[in-house]
Amino acid sequence: MSAAANSSRQQTEAAEAFAGWLQGLSGGAAIDAASSGTAQDWLAAERQQAAERVRAQAVPTGKSESWRYTGLRSLIDQGFVQVDEPLTALTPDDIEEVLVPGLDAHRAVLVNGRYSEALSDLGTLPRGVRVGSLQRMIESDPDALQGVLTRIAGEGSHLFASLNTAAMQDGLVLLLERGALLERPIEVIHLSVGMEEPRVAQPRHLISLGDGAQAQVIERYVSLGDALYCTNSVLELSLGRDALLKHARVQQESPNAFHITGLYLSQDANSHYAGVNIGLGGTWARTDLVTRFSGEHAECDLQGLYLAGDKQLIDYHMDVRHGLPNCTSRERFKGILYGKGRAVFDGLVYVARDAQKTDAAMSNRNLILSANAEVDTKPQLEIYADDVKCSHGTTVGQIEPEMLFYLRSRGISASLARRMLCLGFAGEIIEALGPEALRDYVTEQVGERLERAPLD
């Protein structure tokens, strides 16, 4: 009895601490936005409402369904405070170490959530393409953002997305006009640098493709050193009719980093989105991928690969809503776990009453390499229409001894054989990444992690 009472008191205390922490973050930023005088009326109102939502929303606990397997305790305990001043001390030489060798792309760089003109190397952009800082655009051309920014993420969104809306300061904007064509990919480097006290950066990014526009975006989350910090980013993506976006996201944050991403995608008729999410870094990483269709015959393809080892938790949540008929969605995620690594996969495909002829398939496959790793997977279907084709599948397994034996009998060492098999398993997802330079780079990153992994 007393133990139960104790734990419930502890829970209440934790909830209070968390609520206080959230308020501090959202409130502080609202003042920042008002005092800087950059906020437009509509945006100020959105921020205000978001701050209200943060205040009103119940603090997630282990009993909240979407946080069932992902504890927030370790995040709260860090006592992160909001990033204040932009970091301008870096020179292009400093970021050399985080670049992908041989990758030919327009490069945009953000440091601790703020767009850096000095480090970005955009080259010549084709007509109808704008890339730049969100803060700048709020100052110079806010009309271009109205009705898009904060609207895709919507009001019913996640607690951390509301927090981000209330507190956002800067981020990346990529706008493609109707019919614009971006042939070279755009590489967006989200660089984090550790500060004296642990900081949380809350960047807000917006990518909007007009009707028939096409682009390829490569986002990379990297850090200098093993710094402790938190990134709470929200990415809003809007695809017009017939638009095409190839989107690669490679998360290789520092081993001590906390990473939260909310990706909100809105797709109009006939648009095609192909996203590949690679999760390698961070000690605690949560990604929410949310898709809505606003026109028929749109296709959404989400793929992912995650690796989690000692002191790592990687969590992917997916919410794909089919509200209209004739749309197609694919989710294919693969995970490799070693050491004491933990992974969470939670995917929901929702098919509304009128969304006939929906075609949806979800799969999650996990490879566990060590005795202490854990995976919690929950692929869900919620279907209210009858003329649909929906399926999901999930597996958890390990390397087949026969496969290992085959390779070993050909003179390959056990550890190399294991690595080869894991890379084979991961290869399918890495292949989808696009540019060869990026594929090679990610393959190397995955290989390195597997080499260091304690295999037992």
Binding site: E296, L324, N326, Q356, A371, Y384, H392, G393
Partner: protein, 494 residues
Amino acid sequence: MSAIPAEAITAESKADTVGQYDDLVNAGYEHGFVTEIESDTLPPGLDEGVVRAISARKGEPEWMTEWRLAAYRKWLEMPTPTWAAVHYPPIDYQAISYFSAPKKKEGPKSLDEVDPILLETYQKLGIPIEEQKALAGIAVDAVFDSVSVATTFREKLHEAGVIFCSISEAVQDYPELVQKYLGTVVPPTDNFYTGLNSAVFTDGTFVYVPKNTRCPMELSTYFRINTPNTGQFERTLIVADEGSYVSYLEGCTAPQRDENQLHAAVVELIALDDAEIKYSTVQNWYPGDENGKGGIYNFVTKRGDCRGHRSKISWTQVETGSAITWKYPSCILRGDDSVGEFYSVAVTKGRQQADTGTKMIHLGKNTSSTIVSKGISAQHGQQAYRGLVRIAARAEGARNHTQCDSLLIGDKSSAHTFPYIEVKNSSAKMEHEATTSKISDDQLFYCRARGLSEEDAVSMIVNGFCKEVFNELPMEFAVEAQKLLSISLEGAVG
């Protein structure tokens, strides 16, 4: 907004679904008759006094009364679960009468002494309690409302050393067995409904199969809810001692009622070393009328504990009735090399709602489990599969295969899948697959081209869809289940 308006598609499929098979889909509940019989019923309401009264009427020993009271006190502190995908108005637990026993002149010694009205009821239901029972080789422990009124084949079972009696008798005659096992698989505090059941359960079945004994026949209990406003709180406890085997059949029908009736049963299975328990259910309680009025609330907790090494527990269920089903027959695979199985067919039509599935908790080494769940949802039917597969860190070499398929008939029906998979051991092998679809036009066309009527074609396709589960049922049940499915569903195709 779109080239083809959504309404056009909906209208088209509606034309397919509605109209042609109204007769079949709208077929009333076949078993909706009420037997007028005097009942000895407690007034509605629940407090400690009622719990004591139930215990006193059943002449229970002190420890049993205390056990009930402890459960009742815990229950008062428990919240009603709200996480399931079902919707219903709040239940007033004070408006339910917690005890209803058919009045007996004296305890029946043989079938001849059983109230003839009761026997007639069973005959209407087609229960083989007389000659049929001998032919079918089934011993029937018929539960009329809450008290067992007839128990057959007991002698024959007695020879084999198998105890098959009502739980009330077991409390009197085998208190040491009941005390040892009752509540060890499903503790009273497990959830809201188990708490309620533990406090007020009136009857149920107790089975004990001794060491190295194969139960000579399939055991069967038919439940029937009869008195209005009486919740049924059955308690079933089956213990299979080392090296034994038992197959238990449970089936139920209920008469048509306007008020919702609550059914919160608890079933506990315990399999010791090398023992095997096979538990089959055909559930066909009154589902309510086409507007969802009336119908049984079926909130059941069923759990099996593979306590011994190499033990096996297998659940098979065919769920076609009840307004709301909330049921997750589960297996705790504690012993090494133990096996858990769950085969389920669930049908929801009209306004029926079902949230059902299973839990497989792998604790022992080399444990394996199989889950096959087939859901069919028609008209406004709502259905959810909710399952958990947990492989604990020490469960070396655990193996699970899960398959859950849903068939949707009509554009107002819905089907959901919520599987939870938690793996903490690297040697585990776990597969899960799920699909949702409707009966394809090609399948139908093929059958129709060969001269089958559309109803027969659908019936055949649905039976094929469920075959994996029907194969697991004992013969007599498989026939009944197929018939039930045909009656429930024929023709409702989109």
